[in-house]
């Protein structure tokens, strides 16, 4: 049993798992974060218990979740990593947004939970874009570039049908992946060479899934784009003056849109058309 070490933005951590199958699964799931350097914090996952089938998640020696089902423990681990990433990356402006990159330019998809941004970014990556994140866009306040946070895409059950071709193998790491609360997809499951490097934001699209609705793209002014970005900034008020200045810089350098639609393929086509359009068009 050896520790796997990772760095995701400002969060450097190790994971130690009793179960070799889980260790192998996590090594693949968290591969974009793998590092070969000392890390200050560690998760341990004990179990599953042979008699009860439950497992326990600890973080730096403190129990986070005890005697829970393995899928619940796995989901909690991934949630905890995300939360720590947000807490330990104060130097960046962090947007609650998905993002993907094409030819060095990123499309940023800020939206509240449940708006469909993970599903949309999965569709964009499946269609050829490269993956930056489905959860937190980290903007460098000095260069305005986005640092990748290539966490596994967390697909909710509501999107299983529309992404059915991406359904993970049920027997990859039982019982950890049995009856999953979510699908956890790595970028390489969406296509070859789908990991993006740092990218400059070029387009901002705030998506809203609306069942049965036709695709509608509404241009935003730079000021409206700034408001959308601010509305979707984690802990905006902790550094509000800095955040406002940084977001104004992003808004001035991007084209902003509000996207509404109910068909994933049509939404993907609309966003790709925007990304491929020359600056100044449309």
């Amino acid at each position: 049993m050896s520790a796997m070490r990772f760095r995701a933005l400002g969060h450097a951590f190790a994971v130690v798992a009793d179960d070799p199958a889980l260790a192998g699964y996590l090594a693949r799931l968290l591969a974009p974060f793998a590092v070969d350097e000392p890390v200050p914090r560690a998760y341990t996952i004990a179990g599953p218990d042979p008699s009860r089938g439950t497992a326990t998640l600890s973080y730096d020696g403190a129990v986070v979740l005890a005697d829970a089902t393995p899928p619940h423990v796995l989901a909690t681990l991934l949630w905890h990593v995300n939360a720590e990433v947000l807490a330990r990356t104060p130097d960046a402006v962090l947007l609650h947004a998905a993002a993907a990159e094409l030819d060095g330019t990123a499309v940023v998809l800020p939206a509240v939970s449940g708006s469909g941004k993970t599903t949309l970014v999965a569709g964009l990556v499946r269609a050829g874009m490269r993956y930056l994140t489905d959860e937190a866009v980290a903007v460098d306040p000095h260069t305005l570039t986005i640092a990748p946070f290539a966490k596994p895409l967390s697909i909710d059950p509501g999107s299983f049908a529309v992404l059915a071709d991406l359904e993970p193998a049920a027997d990859e790491a039982p019982p950890w992946t049995a009856g999953p609360l979510q699908w956890h997809l790595t970028p390489d499951e969406l296509g070859a060479d789908r990991l993006a490097g740092p990218a400059r934001p070029g387009v901002v699209v705030t998506p809203r899934y609306e069942a049965g609705a036709p695709v509608r793209l509404e241009p935003l002014t730079p000021g409206e784009t700034l408001l959308v970005l601010a509305d979707n900034t984690f802990a905006f008020h902790d550094a509000r003056r800095r955040n406002l200045q940084v977001l104004a810089g992003v808004a001035e350098r991007t084209r902003g849109y509000r996207l509404t639609g109910g068909d994933l393929d049509e939404c993907v086509a609309a966003v790709l058309a925007i990304c491929r359009a020359p600056v100044g068009a449309g």
Partner: protein
């Protein structure tokens, strides 16, 4: 916590001699030809369209609302009568939202003499 946002609303008009100045705790950020105001006391964001942004830039605490109206008229090549009421209404809305403070004691150069039509800081004039 994310910021809430609002468009300045409410208020009818202010007297022509009124002088407005940005309220303490209001941070203005220009983005292209618009301005976003952050009221640090409430955390609320306000978006000013390009026309309102130009008026905002002219609210320097010296010029009266009437003088600001004349500035806008000169900058855009329109009659003062066409812009006086919208400028007055906008200042009233900004005041109602707590984004500016008002005083009636306009300095002589800015109130009632009709001579202050120079562009405000940041005012480029012309484009609308």
């Amino acid at each position: 916590m994310t910021p809430s946002r609002a468009a300045p609303a409410g208020g009818d008009a202010v007297a022509a001699g009124t002088v407005a100045v940005p309220a303490p705790g209001v941070v203005a950020v220009a983005v292209a030809d618009e301005v976003v105001l952050l009221d640090e006391r409430s955390g609320v964001l306000h978006l000013l369209n390009p026309s309102a942004a130009r008026v905002w830039a002219a609210l320097d605490g010296r010029r009266s609302v009437a003088a600001v109206g004349r500035t806008m008229a000169v900058a855009h090549g329109v009659d003062v009568a066409d812009v006086a009421q919208p400028v007055s209404a906008l200042v009233a809305q900004l005041a109602a939202a707590g984004l500016v403070t008002l005083s009636e004691d306009a300095p002589a150069a800015g109130a009632g003499h009709g001579g202050d039509a120079s562009p405000a800081p940041g005012e480029t004039g012309g484009a609308a």
